[in-house]
């Protein structure tokens, strides 16, 4: 019997499956046992052994028939923001407790068709609103590196499950940093691709002009087949892109770019990144950055320099404004998106009420948690008569200025941008409960990328000096559609370092 943590990555496991050294069904059975026995019962929100084993048997049949792809039989799990047939879909909210979707999200369907085997649904912040996974209506998730700490959020369960070696990959969504930040705090790799390249269909909506799905895995190399499989035009998502700079938005695009970049690095020899300009925004190395995160990021930049890249000082002058801009735009879109929860067609309905309006407001108040209600109120305020121009449209104007700063940096100064993902390592569970805005300020390095729709990733680049060392992430930001090259660059770094191979409890 083989457990998934014995395999270095997706490729090694795929080889073992194809060579018959292990079957997908054995592996899934073992992975389900490990998930059930795992010390944090709040990590998975729903497991259904029969559904998982049916997918595993289908994978074994595909392997036997010679139809195996790079993900066939690979154990993964989904953030509970993706709707799934069979498995309950709750968005970690009481509002959707017990909800059974009649269909699969496009991302879920594509991974199923690629042969990946889902172990079930992973916790997250309620409706993806949060940075610590503490806003789940079903209880917080613990960081595998230190159970007293948050795993980050909102895709906290996804990052924790990969870090704990329960799955080889997990889906996440990133609206303002929700893939990158938990990946950083859990010591795993994650990528948010360019807005519009992955379908939002079947993702419970939070802020539609920002929401984008992305995978989390141990290494950049493992992210490649996952991102490539889920990328592609989808007529069911009205903002899905048909083309990316004239190329078809389809599976194969990311993989092709990744392989092309790798071939170029290979040909360059001892200094594979020769000529590459890495922009480091001075606003990311500000007084708010903790010394240990700053030192780990500096050390990572030195590794890239040793590989041949050149470091360039750049400025993203509106970095601080990304916080107010995001916390106007995202709540505004959330208040609109979440108006659908009326207690009529699906979702929670209060037990007692006087009339329809009373039924709706009681149901919503009971069904939504504190942070969701808070953001709905903020969004309602900035969209209300008299404030729409002053707040909402003004935030959208600032959004354009922030996007222009990135555009200018890529046009004039650098090929990609690097910096920290978070100002500090994972905080303790419960720490910011008295101040709801404290967590928002910690999103400063990730929000701009989301507002500009750019691809960004996080890879592990060091650990804190705590008694239980906590992971630190490096953020790599590319121009639109540059995710294939980002993954290749991250892989070069991971060939030169072993941070991504560290496992909780074995450090």
């Amino acid at each position: 019997m083989s457990a998934i943590h014995e395999f270095e990555g997706i490729q090694a496991l795929a080889d073992a499956l194809r060579q018959g050294r292990v079957s997908a069904a054995e592996l899934a059975g073992e992975a389900l046992r490990a998930a059930r026995a795992y010390g944090d019962p709040q990590l998975f929100l729903h497991i259904d052994e029969d559904l998982t084993l049916a997918q595993a048997r289908a994978a074994d049949a595909a392997i036997a028939a010679g139809r195996a792809g790079p993900l066939t039989g690979i154990p993964i799990a989904h953030k509970d923001l993706f709707v799934t047939r069979g498995w309950r879909s709750t968005a970690a909210s009481r509002m959707l407790d017990g909800y059974l979707s009649p269909f699969d999200a496009t991302v879920v369907a594509r991974l199923r068709e690629a042969g990946a085997v889902s172990l079930g649904k992973l916790s997250c912040d309620e409706f993806a609103m949060g940075s610590g996974n503490e806003n789940s209506a079903f209880g917080p998730v613990r960081n595998p590196w230190d159970p007293e700490r948050i795993p980050g959020g909102s895709s906290g369960g996804s990052a924790a499950a990969v870090a704990a070696r329960l799955v080889l990959g997990a889906t996440g969504t990133d609206t303002g940093g929700s893939v990158r930040q938990p990946a950083a705090l859990c010591g795993v790799s994650g990528i948010k691709p360019t807005y519009g390249t992955v379908s939002r269909y079947g993702i419970v909506a939070y802020a539609s002009s920002l929401d984008q799905a992305g995978p989390i895995a141990r290494s950049a190399r493992d992210l490649v087949p996952l991102l490539d499989a889920i990328s592609g035009f989808d007529p069911l998502d009205s903002t899905s892109l048909e083309t990316c700079d004239g190329r078809a938005n389809a599976p194969g695009r990311v993989l092709e770019d990744y392989e092309r970049a790798q071939a170029r690095f290979e040909a360059a020899g001892a200094r594979p990144l020769e000529g590459l300009r890495i922009g480091v925004p001075r606003e990311f190395l500000n007084e708010g950055l903790s010394a240990e995160v700053g030192a780990a990021v500096e050390a990572a930049l030195s590794v890239f320099e040793a590989l041949g890249a050149r470091r360039v000082d750049i400025s993203l002058p509106r970095t601080a404004l990304s916080i107010p801009a995001y916390y106007v735009i995202a709540p505004a879109e959330a208040s609109s998106n979440l108006s659908r929860y009326d207690g009529v067609r699906y979702g929670h309905r209060a037990a007692g009420y006087e009339d329809v309006a009373d039924m709706t407001s009681r149901s919503r108040t009971e069904g939504f948690g504190d942070e969701v209600r808070r953001r709905i109120l903020v969004g309602t305020y900035v969209l209300s008569h008299g404030y729409y121009d002053a707040y909402y449209l003004q935030a959208q104007r600032v959004r354009r200025m922030i996007a222009d700063d990135f555009r200018k940096a890529f046009a004039e100064d650098c090929d990609l941008i690097m910096g920290p993902v978070t100002p500090a390592v994972a905080r303790r569970i419960g720490d910011n409960r008295q101040d709801p805005i404290a967590d928002w300020l910690g999103d400063i390095y990730t929000l701009g990328v989301s507002l500009a729709g750019l691809p960004g990733m996080s890879i592990p680049c060091g650990f804190s000096g705590d008694a239980r060392p906590l992971p630190i992430g490096l953020q790599i930001i590319g121009n639109h559609f540059d995710e294939g090259r980002l993954l290749a660059l991250a892989d070069r770094y991971q060939q030169a370092t072993d941070w991504h191979q560290r496992t909780p409890g074995q450090q």
């Binding site: 009649p102 903002t239 404004l321 699906y346 009681r362 108040t365 109120l377 449209l393 959208q396």
Partner: protein, 102 residues
Amino acid sequence: MALTEQDIARLARLAGLRLDPSEQERARRELERILGLIAQLQAVDTTGIEPMAHPLEGRQDVSLRLRDDRAAPALTLEQRAAHMANAPAQHEGLFLVPTVIE
């Protein structure tokens, strides 16, 4: 920015939420703090800058697609049942709500 109890009550009504008096007071304090944070935007000179609704505007055409004006296949009875199964109250394929018109 100072918010009154009436402001919060109106906002809660617009948002379809019910806040009891202690929650109203907490919401008022939190919202004042949040409005203080987002007030920074007012100081930015955005003269001549167009609001940006789609993050890829300027990069490529992002006009919203319309689907062909063709009827899609109707749901089967089983599909309808799967959709209705999530309704809090239903009867023979209809959603039940409190009386709206006497």
